[in-house]
Symmetry: C2
Subunit: 132 residues, 2 copies
Amino acid sequence: MKNRREFIKKAALLSTLPATAALANTAKSKELFIHHVYFYLKQDSPENRAKLTEGLLKLSKVPTIRQFHIGEPASTTRSVIVRDYAISWMCFFDNLEEEEVYQAHPIHLKFIEDYSYLWSKVNVYDSVGPRR
Amino acid sequence: MKNRREFIKKAALLSTLPATAALANTAKSKELFIHHVYFYLKQDSPENRAKLTEGLLKLSKVPTIRQFHIGEPASTTRSVIVRDYAISWMCFFDNLEEEEVYQAHPIHLKFIEDYSYLWSKVNVYDSVGPRR
């Protein structure tokens, strides 16, 4: 009787293994959604770049953002390099749905309300691919 | 006497705090250099995107690359979104010098030699800012 109980216990345990492996696999092959925005300012100055950076730091609190970066054009100047923008804002999301949450999030709407007077244009690149 | 010893101990401890805080701050404020390339193909097809992706996976072995992502335009379509490219290649470096190592690395030169027949144009954005 005890042996049979042990057998059932082990069988039950084993039956959960494929599900666990499948789960691990899903986690591994998850997507990564990159939202990369290049801001062009109406009046490009160190002060206005600092103001926009201040706004982006507030924006970075949107909870679906997994990782973010705020940058300025590097000093690299090869002919293929675009460097006429003022501020680069890049953030990672787990998928498209999480980026949509960000777009509609009150923190994002408030950011646009408070800081959009600074920019004349944004170029946005949304790219999606496997997380590696 | 004991009180005085305690006071000296505490004072000594406190005097180390600014140095420790400064150190933590330095580690925290390290740069992050983003190299983001958007590829336009001579003949855009699933086969050619797959070939370029295969090349980029080889390219990703350059040892100064800290993190990379290979993507395609997401399904987002707002008017500010640029989605006419075929493949997005993004990689992180610790700084400009490490990106220069990548540019001149044999793996990079071999990638250009073997795969540049595929593309008609690249738009490159190099952005640098504090790692947060």
